[in-house]
Every structure is written in C-alpha cells, then in structure tokens.
C-alpha cells in the first residue's frame, strides 16, 4: 500500500536554529498537509497546500513557518527560528481530494528543541 514518508524520524535542535522537516507524499495525491501534536495533546492543523500554494493555514502557522514543494516529490516544512514550544510531533499527510478515503499520514517527525 502506498505510504507517506517522513524524514527524519527524530530531530533535536537548539533554540533559534532553523529546521526543515521533509515529506514524500503519495505520488498521485494533489493535496498536502502538515499537522502538529504536542506531547499528550490533540492533533492540530498547521497548513494545507495545493497547486504549489497554501490553501489554508491555522493561527499556529505564523511567519516562522513556511512550506515548499521544491521538486515533484518532496514537501517540506521549515521552521526558521525554533522555540522550545515548537517541540512536538509533526505529521505530514496527503490526499487525493476524495474525502471518502481521508488522508494518508506519514509516521511523523519528533522535533525536540533544547
């Protein structure tokens, strides 16, 4: 079954550093998403991306965050200057736009800011 691949699985970074989280969505999907889950809390929407532009973003997705699809396969989330409160699990997901099948989530990147 097709998978969404996320790398790295765990990243530790110092406060103030830039991080890039990488995702390879399912190849025939057109809609891409990032979600965040702070430990022990619910999963929160960050941003959706379609046709090379942001479709929707949440209040969490401020100027420190950006997304990019630099080539035909990768989808990245960049955090410019990490803060302690950015420590969380970050999930990438992709969809073919059919709500019936929902999303396919990647296995997540655990980001730890120290």
């Amino acid at each position: 079954e097709p998978e969404v691949t996320q790398t790295p699985s765990h990243q530790v970074t110092q406060m103030g550093q830039e991080v890039i989280l990488r995702c390879v969505p399912i190849s025939n999907h057109l809609y891409f998403y990032w979600y965040r889950q702070i430990l022990g809390q619910k999963v929160e929407f960050l941003v959706s991306f379609y046709n090379n532009e942001i479709s929707e973003k949440s209040e969490i997705f401020d100027d420190q965050f950006s997304v990019e699809r630099p080539d035909g396969s990768n989808f990245t989330l960049k955090i410019r200057s990490t803060k302690l409160e950015d420590s969380a699990m970050y999930f990438c997901a992709s969809s073919d736009g059919s709500g019936l099948r929902g999303y396919t989530f990647g296995s997540g990147t655990r980001l730890t800011v120290v």
């Binding site: 998403y33 619910k42 997901a93 396919t104 989530f105 296995s107 997540g108 655990r110």
Partner: protein, 115 residues
C-alpha cells in the same frame, strides 16, 4: 468553525470484550465526513473507519463499527472482540465535504486492552 469533543480521556476493557468510545461534534455544515483514527505507541496515525454524513447506514470495518446519529451530532466507535493490539489513542475527526479540507480532531481517548 467545527469542534469535536471526546469526553472519555481514558478507558480500559478486558480482552475479547466490547467497548464503545464516544464522540460528539458541532457544525453548521450539512455534508461532511467523520473519521476515527488510531494512534498506537509508535504515534503513527492510522485510519480506522470513516462515515459520510449523507449516508444513514452506519459504517463497519471488521470488528469496528460506528453509531452515527446526525441529528444528535454523535459519532461513537464500537470495537468488538477487543484485542491487545487495539491498545492505542483513538481520535475522532471531522472534515467538511469537499475532501481536501482540513481535519479537526478531538482530544482523544486512551484505550487500554487488559489481557
């Protein structure tokens, strides 16, 4: 804006028993999708079951079934013949109808299956 509420933070049940997880939601939309996702200790998000709001028939997937009450805005998950591998966090989620919309999640229910 949509909200999803899961009022049971934790539940436990003996192996082979049946358990029901509750979910209510609030929306002004008439067409939408509802989902249950499972998050085992590995923290991966796994789709368990989905329901289209315009369908009256409750969805079933093997041991998993839902009780969808549209008027009451209720969407509970029933797990029959529970197995140790069912131990996980379970999240209820809402999506507006167009299918490329964001998911709105509840706060989750931690389910433990006791051997």
């Amino acid at each position: 804006a949509q909200t999803v509420t899961q009022s049971q933070p934790e539940m436990s049940v003996q192996e082979a028993e049946t358990v029901t997880l509750s979910c209510t939601y609030d929306t002004s939309e008439s067409n939408y999708y509802l989902f249950w996702y499972k998050q085992p200790p590995s923290r991966q998000m796994i789709l368990v079951i989905r329901q289209e709001a315009y369908k009256q028939q409750n969805a079933t997937e093997n041991r998993f079934s839902v009780n969808f009450q549209k008027a009451a805005k209720s969407f509970s998950l029933k797990i029959s013949d529970s197995q140790l591998g069912d131990t996980a966090m379970y999240f209820c989620a809402f999506m507006k109808y167009f299918g490329n919309e964001k998911l709105t999640f509840g706060t989750g229910t931690r389910l433990t299956i006791i051997p």
